[in-house]
Amino acid sequence: MTILKELQAAFKRNVLKGDKDFGEFIISTETVSSDIRLGIYANAYFARLQEALETDYQILRKLLGKEVFEEACLAYIHKHPSHYFSLRWFGQDFPAFLGYAPNRGEHHWPAEMAQLEWSFVNAFDAADAEPLGEAHAAAIPPEAWATLTMHFHPSVRTMTVYWNTLLRWRTTKHNETVPEPVRLPQATQCLLWRNALITRYRSLEPDEAVALQAALEGADFSELCGALAEELQDQEQVSIKAAGFLKTWLSAGMIVGL
């Protein structure tokens, strides 16, 4: 190992873990000891990473309170040193660190709130694409509907919500009375996307959730109707409902290609 490499490795250990084997590299002065000098780097490291998490998880911080949130941050920083060149990605494992389990739904509410906020982060700077307008639905020839596939804006994503996370997010954001965390009687789907630079979200009724999931997985319009038919009791409503969803998605700026 070169001296430079050894020096950097020792400096890193000092910053991350407070290892004292670095003193031999540093010159102390009468007024400022090497401990104080090195402490500036260690303090800056933890402060910077914590600030990144505070920026990405503002609502969770408010709900947990400063002290609990900072404790979680510190534990996360110790367990997940950054491997990214940009702080943009540092917080991506925070929901999983808090126990987020998307398929089983056994996680507690902070993990779900973290996942919601991280989904907003991802929708915020997802790739650009020009959305089609609602008028595009009218221009589709009748014979083309059956094989129609939808290409969604890169920011469009869904997540399963098991807690009253959306209500708690919204009320916290707007400084309203925040309800206690409770599990929902039935898990619901939340849709997130970006339209005209604004990140948006809403919960989906079960029929729209089924239709959107099928469309996101590449189903054409007739396959989407097939999936929807299993959800609806009134089969005559299937194609009307499906066409309605398509118009809704178009007008929301979610679709970039048909």
Partner: protein, 290 residues
């Protein structure tokens, strides 16, 4: 290696007095089109796929010259250069067509861990050789010269063999790169390590310096930390005047990265910079310096 200096005619453009483009001011800048000569961006903030950051950057770029300033190149690091980072940097350069591209003479991580800080190097021959080789690789890949900024530092290494400015000069001359001369960082490091900032200024060859940074800092008495969260202090303005006398017309900007004031306050600071520039340079301000 290709000499990009030759390719660009060996001239530095004089852009005037600029500010950092920060998200806090996007709307104000677009609505008021302020009298700022140019903006500097933090490159990493725009290494994203889309959305607001790139939307505003494209619009500001349409009206103002832009300079790209990175914090993650880790030119002094002992891990291999991050090819993914360099690829993204090159893509952003192609999109923005900046006046120039800069980063810091430092390292930012080790063993795959990023410290997200500008970590100091020992000023010795081993570090010079190491950095020179990496600067040459980066300049070859980007097809252009880069500027390297002197950082603020809080430690001095027993392994150092030369002054910071001698270290910087040898790297610039051997790697044929340029310098972003951060005047606040020189003030901060001079206070922390007890050297004469004027000696630093006078030690650097003028033709290598293409840009100045000014910023505020936090003064703890026995030491000073570079925090970019206060206005520029009087001693740093005085050093700016000295730097203008030594280096001539060099594009200068004020960095503000925390405790963001109303944009008008930054414009007031910019006026202060212009007044000093006018007083020192008089009619000697040149659009281009060879």
């Amino acid at each position: 290696m290709t000499s990009v200096l030759a390719a660009k005619g060996g001239k530095r453009s004089y852009l005037g007095c600029g500010l950092g483009l920060r998200p806090e001011y996007y709307e104000t800048i677009m609505e008021t089109r302020p009298a700022v000569d140019w903006f500097e961006i933090i490159s990493e903030n725009y290494m994203v796929d889309g959305g607001k950051p790139l939307h505003f950057l494209d619009r500001v770029r349409a009206d103002y010259p832009i300079v790209m300033h990175g914090v993650s190149l880790s030119i002094g690091g002992t891990d291999p250069l991050d090819k993914d980072y360099l690829k993204r940097l090159k893509q952003l350069i192609q999109r923005i067509e900046p006046q120039w591209v800069s980063d810091h003479l430092c390292w930012t991580g080790q063993g795959g861990h990023n410290l997200h800080d500008l970590m100091p190097l020992p000023f010795n021959q081993e570090a010079v050789d190491h950095v020179v080789e990496r600067v040459q690789q980066v300049q070859d890949y980007l097809g252009r010269q880069i500027l390297l900024e002197n950082t603020s530092s809080y430690v001095s290494f027993r392994q150092s063999e030369m002054t910071e400015w001698e270290f910087h000069i040898e790297i610039m001359q051997r790697a044929d790169c340029l310098m972003l001369f951060d005047i606040n960082n020189i003030y901060v490091s001079a206070r922390n390590h007890g050297f004469d900032p004027l000696e630093y200024i006078r030690g650097i060859p003028a033709e290598r310096v293409w840009q100045f940074h000014l910023a505020g800092h936090s003064d703890f008495g026995d030491y000073v930390i570079d925090t970019h969260d206060h206005p520029v202090v009087q001693p740093v303005w005085e050093l700016y005047a000295e730097a203008l006398k030594h280096f001539g017309s060099v594009s200068a900007m004020i960095e503000r990265d925390d405790r963001f004031p109303p944009f008008e306050e930054l414009l007031d600071e910019l006026c202060q910079m212009r007044a000093i520039t006018q007083r020192v340079m008089g009619d000697g301000i040149k659009e281009t310096v060879t």
